[in-house]
Symmetry: C2
Subunit: 322 residues, 2 copies
């Protein structure tokens, strides 16, 4: 497999994918966040999370999407913060969010109760959380507020593939200033295919025109310039989701040799909550949750994050000796 030409990837990004209008503002925020936390002795991880939307029409009614609730990214963000990292959370709009994710399985109105009555003087009854419905709410809320008070989480949203690509580039450039203290944890489910703006119909495709033939181009592999050009000192983890277990390890190894980054976290769609394979150029480690662990509500992200923060420490230490 020929190595992607980096200069052409940077060029394609500029030409074929619309630049979000707020890109410079967001880049400034990420840069200030990274500098501030590095000065305070924190490491900084950029987490990408959720799927990307690929429009089929420029006034978009239809789009291609990738399966991802954002659970892996949102959950991992919490464990990275527990481990002392500051987190830039680059996530799909409306995908799962750290801390809030624990409320996502219920309708919040089922957990609220009005207490007291309006007194006619503009004071309404109080609304309290029923802690039988949400038993962990005080714990979750206190953590959330602590993280907010200490500004340990910088949320950035994307919806389309174009936004994702440009925001990731901006993040990489913003984090390059803190060298090997930066980690990239690329858990988003990014489309491999897209329709270039020049080939896209403006209006909604009409079903009366008959069956639909779509021809999609390949999305540039931006892991390549990220590792080589944009943040060459950083510790970089990519994810590989497959449905076929027989090709998983080979695909992970091939990604490492193509992009020359540090780690691939590989997983299978059906077992992703209980099994991952952490692959580095010289090792492969299985992380597994047993049935008992799952009953005890342990999360595999705790083990993934523990494994990677140790590896990041080692990566930093080894470079001191160079």
């Amino acid at each position: 497999m020929a190595e992607p030409r980096i200069s052409s990837i940077d060029g394609r990004l500029a030409e074929e994918f619309a630049v979000p209008s707020h890109i410079e503002e967001v880049k400034g925020k990420m840069s200030a966040f990274a500098t501030h936390h590095a000065a305070a002795g924190h490491r900084v991880v950029l987490i990408t999370s959720g799927g990307t939307k690929v429009p089929l029409e420029s006034r978009t009614v239809r789009f291609l999407d990738n399966f991802s609730s954002g659970s892996r990214g949102a959950c991992s963000a919490e464990y990275f913060i527990e481990s002392g990292y500051a987190v830039i959370f680059l996530h799909r709009h409306r995908s799962l969010y750290p801390y809030t994710r624990t409320l996502s399985t219920i309708n919040i109105l089922d957990a609220l109760q009005v207490r007291g009555e309006a007194d006619g003087a503009g004071n309404f009854g109080e609304v309290v959380v029923n802690q039988q419905v949400l038993p962990n709410i005080t714990k979750v809320l206190k953590k959330y507020q602590e993280v907010k008070d200490n500004r340990l989480l910088l949320p950035i949203e994307f919806t389309t593939l174009s936004e994702y690509l440009h925001l990731l580039k901006a993040a990489a450039q913003a984090l390059s200033t803190i060298g090997n203290k930066a980690m990239f944890y690329l858990a988003a489910a990014v489309s491999d295919f897209y329709i270039p703006a020049s080939e896209m119909p403006e209006h909604k495709i009409q079903s009366s025109d008959g069956p639909l033939q779509l021809s999609l181009n390949m999305v540039p592999k931006i892991l390549s310039p990220l590792v080589k050009d944009w943040a060459p000192q950083a510790f970089v983890i990519s994810f590989k989701l497959e449905t076929d277990a027989t090709i998983l390890l080979e695909k992970a190894r091939r990604a490492l040799s193509t992009y020359r980054h540090q780690v691939v976290v590989a997983n299978i769609l059906d077992s992703r909550r209980g099994y991952v394979l952490v692959v580095t150029p010289s090792t492969q480690t299985e992380l597994i949750l047993a049935q008992e662990d799952i009953q005890n509500k342990l999360e595999i992200e705790e083990r993934i994050v523990s494994n990677l923060t140790s590896a990041h420490s080692k990566f930093i230490t080894e470079q001191v000796g160079l």
Copy 2:
């Protein structure tokens, strides 16, 4: 345009789209709900809401989707209930939900506060809603609870196109028992295209295979058997979303003459929150929110629902004379 052959649509539904395993259970629930409310003198509206997911692989990583937050459907459900209807809310999993939709623009944890401290005896502090962040929460919560207590809302979820199609058919059959007291308000954004199970790859499509060619079949137009066979006495409204205003009215008229139902609510993507065109075989009525109305937080769904409930009354009255 040739009229679709109904028998073949029913057949295609059974052959090409996987039947959800809980279909009979859901049909039973919808049927009991309709019978109960019709006996209590209520009319019943089936609202469909949100977009459909069309898998590109049988172990699905990638899918085609339709733009829809579910705002139109969720909002309309509230106004139908205000107008005395009982509502079956057939909606995309995680799309906007009646009442709860008003909390969707904030992170709920930003609206909660812990008050008091844990006392060590297992009693934790209370968690209360900050009503400066959510000024309407008591009103919304009381309405939500009233609707729940009176069982005026039956929520049914779908994710894929297959689930949607089979659940809509089941709903139509369940509602056929209450004749013209039933309304169908088909606001979901349903895909026009799909890949039949027989032509779908099992595993994740590999990007290393190069650019992607997709060939999608046309989804059967089930409005046709719904109107003719499944619920022939019901009052049926379909929606038409276009991006090109010049073809809107013509498309609405063509749908009415093809399917022979009662109303098309037609709208343009960019202006859908402030403008719709309500088209019947003999009339066309523009509903418009002025700038001032929008500032006063009026919702166009209030006018759509008002227009349609009147039309439904007239429809029922006219049939008495037949």
